[in-house]
C-alpha cells in the first residue's frame, strides 16, 4: 500500500495530462495513421469479426502474422502490448487449469491455443486501427459510418473536460485526506489503509457530483446558443464535418494488399 500511497502523492495532474496526450497522439504519424478512417473501419470489419468463425489453423496463423505486422507498423506502446499479452495468457491459462481439473486432458490445449490466436488477431486488429487514429479522426470516422453526432461531440468534450475533472477530483480527494485522519493501525496486509483510501475515493464523488451538475447546466445552455440543438441531426452540418475525408491512393493500395493477402491465405488454407 505504500506503493499506492507514493503513487497518489506523485500523480500530478500535469503528469497525467502529458501521458494522456502521448497516448492519444503518439502514433498519428505512421503510414497506417495516414489512411482514411473509413478504410480502417472496413479493414477492421473483417479482422475484428471473421476470426471467430475461422477454425483453420493455417488461415488463423496467416491472419495473426498479418496483424502482428500491422501492429508493428503502428508503433504502439509496449505497455499496451504487454497488457494485451498478459490478458490473453491469463484467460487461456485459467481455462486450461479448470478443464484439466474437470477431467479433461491435454487435448484441450490445442483448441484453447487456437482460441487465444483468434482473440489475439482481433485484439491486434483493434489496436492497429484505433491506436493509430487521433481522437479527431476517430470522431469523424464514426460520424461517417452513421454513429450519432452526440458520440463524436462527446469524444472531444471528454478531452476538454478530463483535465478539469481530474484536477477537481484530486483537490477533493486531498481535502478529505488532509482534513480527515488515516487509520492509526494499518491492519493485516494494510487492509485498513486500503479500505480508508477506497472509501475516500468513493465519497470524493459527492462534491464532484454537485459541482459537475452546475457545470453541466452552463454547458448545455451554451450549447444551445452555439446552435447544437438541431445540429446533431442536420445533414448539412454532417456533410460539412465529413468534407475533410478523402479516400486516396494509399487507401486503395492498403485495401488491395489486404484483400490479396486474405484471398491467397484462404486458398492456401483450403488446399493444405
Amino acid at each position: 500500500m505504500d506503493y499506492a500511497k507514493n503513487m497518489m502523492d506523485k500523480l500530478s495532474i500535469e503528469q497525467a495530462k502529458i501521458e494522456l496526450l502521448n497516448t492519444a497522439y503518439a502514433n498519428d504519424r505512421t503510414a497506417i495513421a495516414r489512411l482514411d478512417p473509413r478504410t480502417l473501419f472496413l479493414w477492421y470489419a473483417f479482422f475484428g469479426i471473421a476470426p471467430w468463425f475461422i477454425h483453420n489453423t493455417i488461415i488463423l496463423a496467416g491472419l495473426l502474422a498479418f496483424t502482428v505486422t500491422t501492429t508493428i507498423m503502428t508503433k504502439v506502446s509496449r505497455l499496451i502490448l504487454l497488457i494485451l499479452i498478459l490478458g490473453l495468457l491469463g484467460q487461456g491459462g485459467y481455462l486450461l487449469i479448470a478443464s484439466l481439473f474437470f477431467g479433461g486432458d491435454l487435448a484441450v490445449l490445442q483448441p484453447l491455443l487456437l482460441l487465444t490466436v483468434k482473440l489475439a488477431v482481433i485484439s491486434l486488429a483493434s489496436i492497429t486501427v484505433f491506436c493509430s487514429m487521433s481522437p479527431e479522426k476517430l470522431s469523424i470516422g464514426l460520424l461517417s459510418i452513421g454513429v450519432p453526432g452526440q458520440v463524436s461531440f462527446s469524444i472531444s468534450y471528454g478531452y476538454r473536460m478530463l483535465p478539469v475533472l481530474l484536477e477537481e477530483y484530486n483537490h477533493v480527494f486531498m481535502c478529505y485526506r488532509l482534513r480527515g485522519k488515516a487509520p492509526e493501525k494499518k491492519g493485516l496486509l494494510y487492509w485498513r489503509m486500503a479500505a480508508y483510501f477506497v472509501k475516500l475515493s468513493v465519497i470524493s464523488f459527492y462534491p464532484l457530483l454537485l459541482s459537475t451538475a452546475k457545470r453541466a447546466r452552463t454547458t448545455v445552455e451554451a450549447l444551445e446558443t452555439k446552435g447544437s440543438k438541431n445540429a446533431f441531426t442536420n445533414p448539412a452540418v454532417k456533410k460539412l464535418k465529413l468534407s475533410s475525408l478523402r479516400m486516396g491512393g494509399q487507401d486503395y493500395f492498403f485495401l488491395a494488399i489486404s484483400f490479396t493477402f486474405i484471398t491467397a491465405l484462404f486458398l492456401l488454407g483450403h488446399y493444405y
Binding site: 497516448t23 492519444a24 477492421y44 475484428g48 469479426i49 471467430w52 468463425f53 475461422i54 477454425h55 483453420n56 504502439v76 506502446s77 485459467y94 481455462l95 479448470a98 478443464s99 481439473f101 474437470f102 477431467g103 479433461g104 486432458d105 484441450v108 483448441p111 484453447l112 487456437l114 482460441l115 483468434k118 482473440l119 482481433i122 483493434s126 484505433f130 491506436c131 452526440q150 469524444i155 468534450y157 471528454g158 478530463l162 475533472l165 481530474l166 477530483y169 486500503a194 477506497v198 475515493s201 468513493v202 465519497i203 464523488f205 459527492y206 464532484l208 457530483l209 454537485l210 459537475t212 451538475a213 452546475k214 453541466a216 447546466r217 454547458t219 448545455v220 445552455e221 450549447l223 440543438k229
Partner: protein, 290 residues
Amino acid sequence: MQTVKERYTLTQSQKMMVFILSMSLYGLSNMITELVPSVYVGPVEFSIEYFAFIPLTLCILFHPLYAAIGASLGEVIFGELMLGQFGGFGELEKFISFSLAMYIAGIMVTDPKNRQQVGMAALSGVIIHQLISMMVDIGKVWIGVDDFETLPGLAESVVVVEGFAFFNDVLFSGILFALIPTLYFVPRLYGKIEPLLGMKPRTRENTHSTRGILRPKLVIAAVLLAFAAFGFEFLSETDLNIFEWEAPFAEQLETNLIWISIGVAAVLSLSILFAIISRNKKAKDRIAHE
C-alpha cells in the same frame, strides 16, 4: 397550465445535462478504476471493477435512459479510448449490456426515498450487467472453439471460470461499489442536485405520471425474455452447426447462421430499447397535450 405540466417531465436540454453529467463523472471514475491495480488472493480478485454507484445514483434520481447511455459512453471514451484501450466491437457489447442494466435499475425505483427499493435496484443493476457479460463471455468461447462440445471438461470449466468471476464481481463490486455507495448517495443528493440542473426532484406523484405507463415489472419481464431469446438463439444455432458439420462449405454456412443469430439478438435488444424510448416520448406527448 401547460408550463406547469411540462416541468414534471424533462426538457431536451435537461436530458442533455443528465447525459453530460453522467458521462463525465462515470468516465472519470472509470479512468480511476482502470489505473488502480487489483489485488489477487488466489483466484479471488479484489479489484475495483467499476464505480457503478455513479450511474445507478443518476439513473435513480433523473432520467434513467440518458443517465445510462451517458455512463456507457463515458466508459468508452474515458476508460478505453483515452487510455489507448479502445476495443472496437467489444465495446459495443459492453455499451449495450451496461446501458440496459443501469436503465432497468433506474426504472425499478419509483420513489428515491425508499431505501429498500434503491438497494434492490442497485444490486439488480450489477447482477443484470454481470449476467449479460458472463453469457457473452461463455458465448465467445463457445463460438471461438471448434467442436466445443466434444472436448471433455471444457464446457464445465468455462461455466465455472465465468460463473466464479460473476459471483466474485457481484459480491465484491456489487456490494462495496454499488449497493453501499448508492444507499449513501441517493438520499444525500435527492432534492439537492435536481435544482442545480433546474429540475424538480422525482416524487412518487410525478413518477406515476411519467413512468407508470411503463410498468417496471413488464419491462423487466420483457428484458428477461430478450435475454432468454438471446441465449436460445445462440444455443440452437451452435447446435445446428454441429449437425451440419459434415456439410460442404460448412464454414460458410456456419458464418451465415451465426451472423443471423447475432443480428436477431441485436435487433431484439435494440427494439426493446427503442420501444422504451418511444413509450417515454409518447407518454410525454400525452402529458403535454392533456
